[in-house]
Structures are given as structure tokens and as C-alpha cells.
Symmetry: C2
Subunit: 345 residues, 2 copies
């Protein structure tokens, strides 16, 4: 593969090259890349949602097994997921990258190809960003702007006792994908000759780790049914941690049921292979980008008409605490183990 040194282009030519194939899709994007700031004008009545993420090599991703294109896609999608978790729609994205000398222009083009794919698929405009040198690997900063009508925005703070607690898709798959990749990396490090990583029958969990999707489909389906969650959050830090956020912000308790946790067969199989508890994986595994939300009990019938949504428990009063109930009736207090790599060294 060709290798063009970043220094041979200079910052401004590089940004121009990286961002040239991003079409502007929204009328609200008045000015994108190329001025001191982007200019955005949402139609009257829409509020602006803004979320930002910082992704660091060696902490949030490992380039040993993460193709740059996938990394770009995932960075963008993770950001969109935060906007969907507010019941909004992502519209604009900025991306800044710091890169050390081991990266070539072609590497950055791969990263941006992934971002472009995500932007195209979710209908988001790239409107800004810059590149700079880094002493130590790759560093990605992503900011996403989204739009929502005031009355549609869903906070973490609106859950009410007796609300149903729902989860989209399934839990723990991305984390199991990560564990598989880490295992194969360790095996690879011990190998001398040719090495073929063993990913057979693990395609689903790998995809969940390496090329996740944000649940735009759930947001659209809820809207179509006229269902508005009372509270919502995305599962980037794991179910337990996210439920505790909802409980704290809403001033309520939660009770969820172990046998109701949606877990894919591949997640089960991988957890077994690694001697891990499937429940722990589902409760604490991060990066699933599923939506966790609460819906008034009165909406149960309409809720049941939706595909891919699982009712895992219900909201209680704050005094009743936050618990996972096992099939034999034991009650385990939820703890925010969270995603083990954040703010912990």
C-alpha cells in the first residue's frame, strides 16, 4: 500500500483531502469544514443536542485488531447513539485527530472512510475538525450535534414508579467480542509461525464490537407508535451503570429480572468458553449502544407491538433501591462497575 507522509501535505491540504468526499445533506448546515467555526441553523422549534467523546489509543481502542475504517465508523456511531438516547436525531459531526509519525495519510483516509460510511448511513454532515501531530499514537475527538423538538427530548430524569424498564436488542455482545479479540491477540503474541486467529462461529459478537450500530430504528419505531419514553440512556457503559444513572437522576429505584435479560446465543457461548458469568457480562459489558428506557405501564399493549424490545423490569420508589432479581428470588444490589477502562488506571 502506498504511504504518503502526513508532513508532505501540511495540515490544511490534509484536512481538505480527508473531508472532500463528505456531501452536505442537511439544509441546516449553513457552513461546514473550512472556517473558524461551522454554522448551523435548525428550523424554528428544534432544540440543539450536543455530545462529545474523546477516544485514545490503548485506552478506548487497540489498533492490533481494530481496522481504522471500523474505528472511524464506531467513533461516529457511538456519538450518534448519545443523540438517539435523548430521542433526537444526529445532524452534524466534527472530528479532530491527533496522529503520531507512524500514521500515513492513507491511514487517516481509512479512518475518515469509516466516518463517511457512518455519516452517509445515518444522514449526518461532517462540519469540522482538524488534525495535529501527537507524540503517542492516535487520538480522536468527536462532537455530534442533533436536533429534537423540546417536547420530544427524553432525559435520564423522567422515570416514574411502575414504569416498565425496556432494553433494545441484546446485551453483552460487544464486550464478548472484545474479550475474544483480546484472547486471540494474546495467543498471537505467543505464536512463532503463521497464525490464523480463531473467529469461527463468533461473527456476531465480533461485529458488535468492531462495527456496532446505533438504534435509530428503535427511535423511529417508538415515534411511529406514538410512544415517548419517560427516561432513556444508551448502554455504552453497561446496563447496571446506566440503570443507576436513571435511578439517581429520576429519584427512583429499579428492579430488573435476571431471566429477562436479552442475551444472544453467541454471547452465552463465549462467556461459557471464558468461564465468565453471562449475567455479569450482560450487566456490565459496555459499548453495546443499545437503548435502555422506561415506558408508562399503561402503554404495555402498544409496546408489545414493537419488535426487538425487551421488558426487563420496572421502576420502583427510591426507597426500594436498585436490584437484580434472580430466578430463585434472590435480590442483588446493582453496582456501577461500568466500563473498566474509564477514569481508572
Amino acid at each position: 500500500m502506498q504511504r504518503t507522509e502526513i508532513s508532505s501535505l501540511g495540515e490544511f491540504a490534509l484536512i481538505k483531502r480527508l473531508t472532500r468526499d463528505f456531501p452536505i445533506q442537511h439544509e441546516s448546515t449553513r457552513r461546514g469544514v473550512g472556517d473558524d467555526a461551522a454554522v448551523i441553523a435548525y428550523p424554528e422549534g428544534l432544540q440543539t443536542l450536543v455530545t462529545t467523546d474523546l477516544l485514545l489509543e490503548g485506552i478506548h481502542f487497540d489498533l492490533t485488531y481494530t481496522p481504522l475504517r471500523h474505528l472511524g465508523y464506531k467513533a461516529a456511531v457511538g456519538s450518534f447513539s448519545d443523540i438517539y438516547a435523548m430521542n433526537g436525531h444526529p445532524q452534524q459531526l466534527t472530528c479532530s485527530v491527533g496522529v503520531s509519525a507512524r500514521f500515513a495519510v492513507e491511514d487517516l483516509e481509512e479512518l475518515y472512510a469509516g466516518i463517511r460510511l457512518a455519516c452517509g448511513r445515518y444522514g449526518v454532515d461532517l462540519v469540522g475538525g482538524d488534525t495535529s501531530a501527537s507524540l503517542t499514537g492516535l487520538c480522536i475527538s468527536i462532537t455530534c450535534l442533533g436536533a429534537a423538538r423540546e417536547e420530544e427530548i427524553v432525559y435520564r430524569s423522567g422515570a416514574q414508579p411502575t414504569d416498565l424498564i425496556c432494553v433494545s436488542g441484546n446485551l453483552g455482545a460487544a464486550y464478548m467480542g472484545l474479550q475474544l479479540l483480546e484472547r486471540e491477540k494474546r495467543v498471537f503474541a505467543g505464536e512463532k509461525g503463521d497464525f490464523e486467529p480463531d473467529f469461527a462461529e463468533h461473527e456476531y459478537i465480533l461485529e458488535r464490537q468492531l462495527r456496532p450500530e446505533a438504534r435509530q430504528d428503535i427511535i423511529l419505531a417508538l415515534r411511529e407508535k406514538g410512544l415517548r419514553p419517560t427516561s432513556m440512556i444508551d448502554s455504552s457503559d453497561g446496563l447496571a451503570s446506566e440503570l443507576l444513572h436513571i435511578a439517581t437522576e429520576s429519584g427512583v429505584g429499579v428492579r430488573i429480572y435476571e431471566e429477562r435479560l436479552p442475551i444472544d446465543i453467541e454471547t452465552h457461548r463465549m462467556a461459557e468458553e471464558l468461564n465468565m458469568s453471562t449475567t455479569t457480562v450482560a450487566m456490565n459489558g459496555g459499548e453495546d449502544f443499545e437503548l435502555i428506557f422506561t415506558i408508562p405501564l399503561a402503554e404495555l399493549d402498544r409496546l408489545k407491538e414493537l419488535d426487538g424490545i425487551h421488558i426487563i423490569g420496572h421502576v420502583t420508589s427510591a426507597g426500594q433501591g436498585c436490584y437484580l432479581v434472580t430466578p430463585d428470588g434472590a435480590e442483588l444490589r446493582l453496582r456501577a462497575q461500568g466500563w473498566p477502562d474509564e477514569a481508572e488506571e
Copy 2:
């Protein structure tokens, strides 16, 4: 000084502690820190400006001589400067930090104290951000949102032939401050015993490097006089580079005059001490956060009523190119040397 390990708090408690003393100042900030995204609602008729910066230790700042409080202040102010350069007003800020194990909670509190000072002084709300581990030093990602009426926004692209080219304040001071700090760092590295860095009579350039201000005052003064620049940019990458941006985006040429470059006496003195050309310093030194803008010739009289603004040249047609004219009439073509640390390794 007390040292609280970041790991002893956990990510969520840390963010809560760092952001607790940031009052919300704007009615437009509907939700700040603490949900999946911040929610912002500007009054009808205002458009949203968004700018993002990524600051990496060892590339954009050196903690040997940069106090964390100053770094926080400067990071925020640099971001505000981009919004002013659009003729807008900064309103909301998000800040994400990656920190390695050598940083304590108290260090981050210093950084945030600087951000808080800047937010207070410029009237900006902190609305989001997160902290994560980093393998290698400090990494700061800043995003600023600003508001402006559509008809007030000034792009890089509006300069017209015969417009006057103006610069606020003076140029090259921040760069000379940096060179002084770098020199004293080298001297310090060679010293064995007690060492007292020699900063006497260099207070101004040090302040320009370590605690710069954004030119909110110029934006307000222009508005008060009813003056709207045809194009504008801030001088974060150096005058030559910024003028070339205006020329390219506006499809014009520029001609500026060496003897008109505003240069402080301390900048002159430091350049002399270091055997550097003062003109080169003024043309290429970055981080001054001054405003560079163009004003129609017909507004000359009103422009002259403003303090602290220097007319350094005029806009020409594109065919006439971009030149610096020396006192003896020689014409030097502008080159975008830029800020030497960006995208060059």
C-alpha cells in the same frame, strides 16, 4: 499539596466534582452536564456556531512551564476566539480530558479552575464533557458553541478588492513568550543547583503566551460602531497563514506593509535577543488570538474611531497575489509557514 488518586473517585464522581462550581448563565442552556447530551435552545433568529480543538501534551503545550490553571484558561479562550472570529458570541463549552496516572484529582481541579475563570469572564456555560484514562499524558478536547444572527456572521470568504486589512492588538508576542519559556527550560536543564528563570521585563510576552485573552472587546466595539467586517479570522496560526486563508476563500489577493505591522516593544526586544527577525515573528508567530479582518474602504473614518485596531494593508484582485511590501518597496510573497507544530512531525 494533597494528592487524591483519580481512581479513588471513579469517572462519574470525578466529573461531578470537577463541574460542580460552574453556574449556568444562559437561559439557552436547557440541560448542561449530566445526560447523554446537553440541550441548547437559542432564541429564534440565532444560528449556532460550533468549533472544536484538540490539545495534546508535548505538541500544543508543555507542562514544564505551563501551570494547569493557565492551560485550562487558554484552552477555553482559544475556543472562544474562533467564535468571535465568526462575529458570534460563545455561549456553551464542552471539555473532555484524557489523563495518565501521574495526574491527581487536584491537578484536574486546577485545569478546571482555569476553564471556570474563562467561562465566568466570557459568560460561557460548561455543558458537558468526560474524563478518561490516557496512556501518555494530558489530552484536552474542547468544543464551543456560539450564537449569531444570520446577517451578522462573518466568514473568511467575503473580502473584496480595495477593502482595508485590519489587525487588533499586536502580533508575535505569544510566540516570543513561548521562545523565552523554551530558552529558560533549556537553561534550567543544564543547571545543577538552584535556578531562577530570568523573566524580568518580559512579563507582557509571557502573559500573552500563558494567559491570552480573546478579543470580545473588538467584536463589541465593531458592533457599537455599526461596522461589519467583510471577512474575519483569528490569528491562531500566524498572520501570513491566516491572510492566505482569507485570500483563498474570498478569491482575492492581499498586500500588507511591513512598517504597519503592530509589534509590541517586548516582542521587538525578545526577537533581538534571540537573533530573530521581528517581521518573521509577527508574520508567523501563532496563538496571539488577535482578530484579522477586512473592512470596506468607505468605512475608513468610522474605523479610525476605534482604539487598538491597525490597518496593515488592503485587499487586491486575485491576480495580484499575496505580498508583504517592505519599507524599501520590495515585495515578498506570503507563505503559509503557520504554526510549526501542527501536522508536522
